[in-house]
């Protein structure tokens, strides 16, 4: 199987305390219909659990969904965990949810590859994943 047609594996991760996973379900389903293999984390996961899942499942993409406003604490923890396992350089990290404009730069500096706010067309996210999955 060549690199270009390998199955894209994504972890759709709900981190922290917010209890809304409608968006994560919609994304999971859209990714599934795009032909991706989606591992869904379930609600209320800690950064450690997300890192554990990302490493064991050897995913190409980690999509973190946060609506609680705790992204500035939680996302860097996930990034640090991936780095610890040597998984950061070839994992595409996306953040979705409610991210204020002034926080974007900080997340991007932490290594987040893409930030998708509410109302982002699904095709745009899928295309972004297809075009930016890192070579392995």
């Amino acid at each position: 199987m060549s690199d270009s047609d390998r199955k894209i594996r994504c972890l759709v991760a709900k981190v922290g305390l917010d209890g809304h996973d409608r968006g994560a379900h919609v994304i999971s389903r859209a990714f599934r219909d795009a032909g991706f293999e989606v591992i869904y984390s379930g609600l209320h996961k800690s950064p450690d659990e997300i890192v554990q899942a990302a490493v064991q499942e050897d995913v190409d993409v980690v999509g973190i969904s946060i609506l609680s406003g705790a992204h500035n604490t939680l996302v860097p923890k996930v990034m640090a965990g991936l780095e610890e396992y040597g998984a950061l350089h070839d994992t595409l990290v996306l953040v979705g949810g409610i991210i204020p404009e002034e926080d974007r730069e900080r997340l991007e500096d932490a290594g987040v590859d893409g930030i998708f706010g509410p109302g982002t067309p699904m095709e745009e996210t899928i295309e972004f994943v297809r075009n930016n999955v890192k070579p392995r």
Binding site: K7, S28, D33, E37, I39, Y40, G42
Partner: protein, 330 residues
């Protein structure tokens, strides 16, 4: 990468989880060099106890696997899990949701949990899951659990790669005619009536018992399939199930059945690989001779027939094997 990536193998054998994860990815993708990886790992396998768990969707497999893994971890054993979920026949994608149930083992890297999509592959899946089990075995996992939804022939092939097969039968899953049907109910060493707190579980146990009584016993040393009731959500009955699995493992060792099963599996595997590789060679020959369409043309025009086409295509293979036969007879 022509030969096995030695660094990846070394890292896996040194207990690095990311290397194990990457090896399984290569196995799944049939990436360049994956066969060499499996070959290199083979010498390090043979110590894991492999348990297959199957049953209909919603029977409680993942929750039970979580509780089982916890029990094994409490005994100081390490655990690998391969959870297979179906893939979409339309997009080829999948949602793999079994990890969600692994709440008892949060943050414990010694429970290595891997979700696999069936990828719509017939036959190929049991090879991939078998190779993934070998990777976990070589890594040093004491217990490897394969979890797959029990819906058809594919699952039966997968689950039969295990030493011990448990079939989950939820309460009220049909009448006694369902129990007569061939397939999944014939391969169980242990039957688990999970969600045993629900109405109808007693009846299900009775029906299972009735079905098992009709089985031919092969002799005094034969393993009599056990029926265990559990409520995985509350951990009820799980200790008893672990005990039953231990009993079965001991029985496998004492009767020589473990070795017999391994021999059967190996023979089946060699045959399967042989079939796959031979058909690849045949495909190549087909391409070399101008591709399928040309042959279709001549068959459709009634100039020849499919049997003759295949005979002609396989002629060179026949010639080679005849030749080596001849050499043996000299």
């Amino acid at each position: 990468m022509a030969d096995a990536d030695p660094e990846l193998i070394d890292d896996l054998l040194a207990g690095k989880h990311r290397a194990l994860a990457r090896v399984i990815t290569k196995i799944e993708n049939r990436s360049e060099g994956y066969r060499d990886l499996v070959s290199a790992l083979y010498a390090h396998t043979g110590t894991a106890d492999v348990i297959g768990i199957t049953g209909s969707p919603g029977a409680g497999k993942s929750t039970l696997v979580d509780k089982l893994a916890k029990r094994y971890r409490d005994r100081g054993e390490t655990v690998g899990v391969i959870a297979v979920d179906p893939s979409s026949p339309f997009s080829g994608g999948a949602v793999l949701g079994d990890r969600i149930r692994m709440a008892s083992n949060v943050g414990d890297m010694d429970v290595f949990f891997r979700s696999m999509s069936a990828r719509g592959s017939l036959g190929g899946l049991s090879t991939a899951t078998g190779d993934a089990v070998r990777a976990l075995d070589a890594f040093g996992k004491d217990k490897v659990i394969i979890e797959t939804v029990g819906a058809g022939q594919n699952e039966i092939d997968i689950v039969r790669t295990a030493d011990t097969v448990a079939v989950l039968v939820p309460p009220s899953s049909g009448d006694d005619v369902q129990m007569l049907k061939a397939g999944i109910l014939e391969i169980g060493d242990v039957f688990v009536v999970n969600k045993a707190d629900l109405a109808g579980s007693d009846k299900t146990v009775q029906e299972l018992r009735g079905m098992l009584e009709m089985r031919e016993s092969e002799g005094p040393d034969d393993w009599e399939p056990e029926i265990v009731e559990t409520v995985a959500k509350t951990d009820e009955g799980v200790a008893g199930l672990v005990e039953t699995f231990d009993d079965h493992a001991a029985w496998l060792d004492e009767t020589g059945e473990r070795e017999a099963r391994e021999r059967r599996r190996t023979a089946e595997e060699i045959r399967r690989l042989l079939r796959n590789d031979l058909s690849r060679l045949a495909e190549r020959e087909l391409e070399r001779k101008g591709g399928i369409e040309e042959f279709v043309d001549s068959v459709v025009a009634r100039e020849t027939d499919p049997y003759s086409v295949v005979d002609d295509l396989l002629d060179p293979f026949e010639a080679v094997t005849d030749e080596s036969d001849g050499r043996h007879n000299d």
